[in-house]
Amino acid sequence: MIRLASLLLILIGLYGIFSSRNVIKILIGVNVMELGVNIFIISVGFFKGGIAPILTADSFSSAMKFVDPLAQAMVLTSIVIGLGITALGLVFARKIHAQYDTYDLGAIGGGKDD
Amino acid sequence: MNVMSFVYGFLVLLGVFVFQTTLTGLNRKVTARLQKRYGARWYQQFLDIFKALRKDSTSHGWVFDFGVIMALGGIMATVIFIPVAGFEAFPGLDNIFVISYLLAVGMLGMAMSAAGSGNPWASIGVARALTNMLAYDVPLMIVIFTLIFAFDSSSLSEIAALQQGMGILGWNAFRMPLGGIVAVIALLGMLGKKPFDSFIAPTEIASGPMVEYGGKHLGFMFILHEFMTFIEVSIILSLFFGGGATIWEYMLKYAVLYTFMNIISGVMPRFKIDQAVKYFYRVPLAMAIVQGLVVIFTGLGVTLWF
């Protein structure tokens, strides 16, 4: 279920990028996709009844059901990278606005190569 | 190849000159009668030639002279190669390709000399003459090609000999009728007779290549014309009408063929040069190809088919 939801999110993000021409909205689309894939990663590592993968005095037996810690680590990295990309994307958005006075890619019309 | 060959060659030249010039004179008479005139005397052609040779002439530079000599030299060399009733001054050199291309030397010389005169009429005439040649030669060459393929020989005298002794139906003109017709039409073109005489058209382009000639140059041109006529008629005679077993038979056939050509031409109007090309590439070319295909694929005509 949760996997389907994440897949849906990715597709929604793609659709957002596909259908909108506003720079900010496209960036939101990208973010939604990233969210989707992050949830997807988590869902892979997760199963019902699993506990946090932290070794404590109470839980160190391998028989205990940890959720996969690696997936969570990956998500952490992915979020960080996503953050960086979003930030950079916003910088570009600012630049586009500064240069063309609009956020609408359709209004730029492709700008001739110099 | 010895001295005698050259002597014979010289004699052939002399004989051909006398014979052909006489015939031309006679034919002037024939044409005149056709046009309801009296016409000049039979030896008028000789008088014209010798008069021209005696007169003063003007020259337009060395190529004007050189071209004339080259033309006459080439043509005379060709005449020497023509087998007359089986006789050859230089035996074995009567290859049809050699003859038809050596003929071109003379034509080239003439064209060169004419164009060298600096008169544009001459150049136009030459252009037309060459175009005319392209028109008649391709169908004719295809027919000749067919003959060579059929008889495995490209020797004029051999092909002539192969037709003899079977009566009139042994002639290639009857064995390969389409080819014969093509050859006769092509001969008209070769001779520059009407309707294929646009390149000398006197009233239109002032006699074309001949426009600047006078005196001995003109005399050369006359002689050249006689020799050329002989070569052209002889080729067709040997290839399609069996040549001649004896010199008399040869001369008789020759006279008939030549006069026949003249009579045809006497009643013809003139083609424009592009019309001539179109004509040759429509009817005679098609006939020549059909004849060629028939011979190559059925063998009909190689052996007697009646």
Binding site: F18 | D65, I75, Y101, V105, G118
Partner: protein
């Protein structure tokens, strides 16, 4: 003599000439003369070591009779033309690289003819292609160079394909073994792709478009090499495609036309078409060099037909036509170059009466065109005669018809420059022009002499050809002392020459004994009572055969075909650009999704 030395010296001298030209242009030009003459002499002496095999670097060579023959023709064209180089240095934009490329391409051709394996052959071949491309661009047209490269590339890429395909079957690149084991469809594919570079190089229809462009616009000092030399590289490929690739054996089971397997007959027919197209196009050219270029197309057709016959007579004719055409066409191009050296143009309508200023050049041109048109007593006659005899023997009617058409048509086109450039009225501008110097005259005279010698003593060349014929296992053409004997006729060129001389002498004597004629000015002609004082107006040169040209002026231009293909490729490019590229991410997202859906469907199916 050693091939290694020849190749090494030419390549080294190529580099040296590049630097010397930077110091002194003329000296660099003279170096090309020395280098090419050295190569010519070296090659000539190489005959002793025929049969030898050796390798330089990773290139492997085998000195064969046919390679020697081709290389000698090639280097002859190079060395004769090189005499003109020093005088054109000032007109070149890059004299140094011209000299470098000139010698490099020469080395390339030498290496190519002696290659033992196809990769060596291909490397040298392509080297020649690109180095000559860079020479042609220095001439009058950049487009010409481009066209030349593209057509050559079509050929060489196809040949590379064939080589590789053959290799995947036989596992070797060695020329004599590479085609072993081919059969069926693969054999046909290899045959046609392999010979494509040859067709492109000879200028066979529809690849002939590069000849008028390149020959007509290359620097005047390179056109003779292109036409006299480089075109013959294609003949070598044609030769290999019937000998190394034993086309007659491999296709022996196929449908035959007049005893010739259909694929070979098809190529011969292409040769025949080239003869017709070349002739017709040559007739209507206004530029002397372009005219000669189209005549090369027509002559290429003869060569191809001759070589592909691979028999006793026609093949010998084709091989001999290589020499005759190389010599004649190089001489004709050199003559035109000499005229252009003085007048600065090659357009026939802008010249006239040059015979009175440049008589030697005129004679050179005259002999060259007599040979090209196949009129005795020049070399071209003998080779065309052999080809005719071969065709007559096999009864190939349509090919023969084309050959006759080309032969007679050649009278028409070769006469045009003769009449327009050399004869007629001399233009006022050119009245003070002089003949070219002896150094430039020399190669032209040598070539003229060669043309005549080949026509009078053809057996000298034919003896070499009989050896080639023996080496590829066909019965050599029968030669007596001075005579060439074929099934349906024989030719004694020497006697024809003597008789011609005899006739000429008689005519000359008659001419001399008659009264001397008065020399008059050229303008002193019959003008139908008009008063014309402008020399230029009294010269008939442009649209020489106008009535004849009109008959086919609507004929389609082959170049249009190439342009159409180029447009189509451009359209594909346009499509690519507009479909996939832009500044909005939506296009890419769209395609990613489409591809994704496609993959999912495929996944479901698989």
């Amino acid at each position: 003599m050693n091939l290694t030395i020849i190749l090494a010296v030419t390549v080294v001298l190529a580099v040296v000439s590049f630097f010397i030209t930077r110091l002194n242009k003329k000296a660099g030009g003279f170096l090309t003369v020395i280098a090419s003459l050295f190569a010519f002499v070296g090659l000539f002496l190489l005959k002793g070591s025929i049969g030898g095999e050796f390798s330089i670097f990773y290139f492997s060579f085998k000195i064969t009779m046919v390679g020697w023959y081709f290389a000698l023709i090639m280097v002859l064209a190079y060395s004769m033309t090189s005499f003109f180089n020093p005088f054109w240095m000032d007109k070149m934009m890059y004299p140094g690289s011209y000299n470098f490329m000139y010698l490099l391409s020469m080395a390339g051709t030498i290496g190519m003819f002696f290659a033992k394996d196809f990769i060596t052959l291909f490397i040298f071949w392509e080297t020649v292609v690109w180095s000559s491309t860079f020479i042609i661009q220095l001439g009058k047209s950049r487009k010409a160079s481009y066209v030349y490269y593209v057509v050559s590339a079509i050929g060489s890429m196809a040949t590379l394909f064939a080589i590789m395909m053959a290799y995947s079957v036989s596992g070797t690149f060695v020329i004599s073994e590479a085609f072993a084991g081919l059969s069926g469809g693969a054999a046909i594919a290899v045959f046609f792709t392999f010979i494509l570079s040859g067709l492109a190089k000879i200028g066979i229809f529809p690849f002939h478009v590069w000849l008028p462009a390149a020959h007509g616009n290359a620097p005047h000092t390179f056109s003779p090499v292109l036409s006299g030399g480089l075109v013959k590289m294609g003949a070598f490929i044609a030769f290999l495609s019937v000998t190394a690739f034993p086309a007659y054996e491999i296709f022996s089971g196929m449908f035959k036309v007049m005893g010739t397997p259909f694929p070979i007959y098809f190529l011969m027919a292409l040769g025949a078409i080239s003869i017709i197209v070349g002739t017709l196009m040559a007739i209507k050219q206004e530029d002397a060099k372009k005219l000669l270029a189209y005549s090369s197309v027509a002559n290429g057709g003869y060569i191809l037909i001759g070589i592909l016959m691979l028999d006793q007579v026609g093949f010998a004719g084709g091989m001999m036509h290589l020499v005759n055409h190389a010599v004649a066409s190089a001489a004709a191009f050199l003559a035109i170059a000499a005229v252009a050296y003085r007048t600065g143009t090659t357009k026939m309508s802008e010249m006239g009466g040059m015979i009175h200023r440049m008589p030697v050049t005129y004679i050179v041109y005259l002999v060259a065109i007599i040979s090209m048109a196949g009129i005795p007593p020049m070399g071209g006659f003998v080779s065309k005669w052999l080809i005719f005899q071969g065709l007559a023997d096999k009864g190939m009617l349509f090919l023969a018809a084309a050959a006759f058409f080309g032969s007679i048509g050649s009278f028409m086109y070769v006469f045009r420059p003769l009449s327009a450039v050399f004869l007629g009225q001399t233009f006022t501008r050119d009245l003070k022009k002089k003949e070219v110097g002896f150094f430039m005259m020399l190669p032209m005279l040598i070539l003229t002499a060669l043309s005549i010698l080949a026509g009078v003593f053809p057996n000298t060349i034919l003896r070499v050809i009989t050896e080639i014929q023996a080496s590829v296992g066909i019965s050599p053409v029968t030669l007596a002392e001075n005579t060439i004997v074929t099934v349906n006729g024989y030719l004694d060129a020497f006697r024809v020459f003597i008789v011609f001389g005899f006739g000429f002498t008689i005519a000359f004597v008659i001419f001399i004994v008659r009264r001397k004629s008065k020399k008059v000015e050229l303008m002193d002609t019959y003008t139908s009572a008009e008063f014309i004082h402008t020399r230029e107006l009294l010269h008939y040169s442009s649209k020489f055969y106008a009535p004849f040209e009109r008959l086919y002026d609507k004929a389609p231009d082959t170049m249009k075909l190439y342009k159409k293909i180029a447009v189509k490729i451009g359209e594909l490019g346009n499509l690519t650009e507009s479909l996939f590229y832009g500044h909005k991410p939506e296009k890419t997202v769209f395609w990613v999704m489409i591809t994704g859906i496609f993959v999912v469907i495929i996944g479901g199916v698989v």
